[in-house]
Amino acid sequence: MVDTTTVTEMVAERRPPDLRRGLLGWLQANLFNTLLNGAVTLVTVALLAMVLWPVLQWAVFQADWLGNSREACSGEGACWVFISARFESIVYGFYPGAERWRVDLVFAALAILIAWLAIPRLPAKRWVGLFAMVAFPVIAFFLLVGGVFGLEQVPTGNWGGVMLTLTIATVGIVGSLPIGIVLALGRRSQMPLVRGFCVVFIEFWRGVPLITVLFMASVMLPLFVPSQVEFDKLLRALVGIMFFWSAYMAEVVRGGLQAIPSGQEEAAKAMGMGYWQRMGLIVLPQALKLVIPGIVNTFIALFKDTSLVLIIGLFDLLAIIRSGLTDSDWLGFATEGYVFAALVFWVFCFSMSRYSQHIERRLHTGHRN
């Protein structure tokens, strides 16, 4: 019924008969391919123009940037003078002017450490990481607090602004990760008492709002210690933040631990390793690498929530700006103040989330190969 047919000449490759080329083609394909889509596009463009143009006018074209007092502002656009005039206190809080080089030094070191850990090509990640988690906090503590090596002591009450925000974030991150790892291991323990303790601990912190934790830290913690002990206000907040986020960190790490096949641990057992060797050398390095995106996302949440210390009376970036708004010389610049605060937080959080997405993509391709 069917005769054999054979083709000997290959058909040459042709360009598609594309009607959708160039800018017009792209517009047609992506914005106006159906009647409904065309209407949606037009409405969106109109809305964007209605919102974006006045915002740009206000924030950029008609804004005033430099000066020392509100008289420098014309009042037509944003008065960024409000920010630039008090820029120093927004960054350093009430840290004494002559000692600010210490803050600069600490945060320059922090930036270098983070960059080192974030850039994949640089070597000795493990040692740098260990330094960042163990030695750096000690050095930073003495540099910032002072009182030794001839450095003038700066009480934590004088800390504030971006500097305090970064301090809280860094301590929160450096503190909550190890506690979280221990809690995650404990939650997978065979010992019922250890497991029970970890489950209750984790679920308790995850069940309550951070605000109540900060209230607890500021009103209840002083009751828990003998009355002679002076408990620093910042330290109390840091303890609360660390416990709170360690519970979230524990759940992230647990996800990583569950993803490691049990064969890995069995193989380590067969090689005669003890529990801490198995965890430290085999299971945790793999599990932590797997959950880097989750850890970074928790960092982002932690970073955003550092702003809550405002409620218990610490002067972080947001609180400094807010207190500036109550200054009788500078009334009425709430929009500038909060937009600036939002922008600073946004830059930090957005870059962290981009980094986490980048890592995620890299991990995915790594697994496929």
């Binding site: 019924m1 054999t4 047919t5 054979t6 290959m10 042709r14 598609p16 008969p17």
Partner: protein, 254 residues
């Protein structure tokens, strides 16, 4: 339906003329002409990336082509959604990865098109489904969920699901390549049975044994075009084109 079928009985089941398709700038299907008669069984083979899956996916418009004409059971393919749905009613498809609906039981997988497309009463739909599940020898699993079945069983359910809409032609897109070796036979047996009952079939597969047993015609594709087509004896014993010879030596070589 029957009248319409009778009227078209002498027309071919599928007619493809001058089919060209691009993915972006990549020319995947080049000047394909293919006519499939009623009751004909065709096996399509070729190296990966040769466009064989894309070709059969064009037949029920899972892929959109840019040039050429496709006529299925007398209906010309247009971009009209209703027309596309009408054509799909006559065309059953079986996928490499089964694509069963995991949240529906085997029975519900088989009833969904009868309920929502053919608008059959539940009892009638279930009766049909059970008859067809019986045919693929899996009736005892009717109330289980796809995740509870083996790969071979899932693929047989997928065949049953497609048969439940009483299609005129069945498309198979590498139905056995995702299966463990011991499960391939149970699926091929069902397909052979289907061929014996006179179903029009287009199979993309590398199961050359199956091609020899049931195919009326074997088509070899490479670089987006049909290189050679012949009855199985001729195709396997006296392949003409060099590419076909090379391909056959690679898959039959060991």
């Amino acid at each position: 339906m029957n009248q319409a079928t009778a009227a078209r009985a002498d027309s071919p089941m599928i007619e493809i003329a001058g089919l060209n398709k691009w993915y972006g700038d990549f020319h995947v299907l080049r000047d394909i002409d293919l006519t499939v008669a009623r009751g004909e069984r065709i096996v399509i083979c070729g190296p990966s990336g040769s466009g064989k899956s894309t070709l059969i996916r064009c037949i029920n418009h899972l892929e959109e082509h840019q040039e050429g004409r496709i006529v299925v059971n007398g209906m010309t393919m247009t971009r009209d959604v209703k027309r596309i749905e009408q054509i799909r009613r006559n065309v059953g498809m079986v996928f490499q990865h089964f694509n069963l609906f995991p949240h529906l039981s085997v029975l519900d997988n088989c009833c969904i098109s009868q309920t929502w497309v053919q608008k059959k009463p539940r009892a009638e739909a279930e009766r049909t489904a059970r008859e067809i599940l019986e045919r693929v020898q899996i009736a005892d699993q009717a109330l289980k969920y796809p995740g509870q079945l083996s790969g071979g069983q899932q693929q047989r359910v997928a065949i049953a699901r497609a048969l439940c809409m009483q299609p005129e032609v069945m498309l198979f897109d590498e139905p056995t390549s995702a299966l463990d070796p011991e499960m391939i036979k149970e699926v091929l047996d069902v397909m052979v049975e289907l061929a014996r009952d006179g179903m029009t079939m287009l199979c993309v597969t590398h199961e050359m044994g199956f091609a020899k047993t049931v195919a009326d015609r074997v088509i070899f594709m490479d670089q987006g075009q049909i290189i050679e087509q012949a009855p199985p004896e001729t195709f396997f014993n006296h392949p003409e084109s060099e590419r076909t010879q090379l391909f056959l030596s690679q898959i039959l070589g060991h």
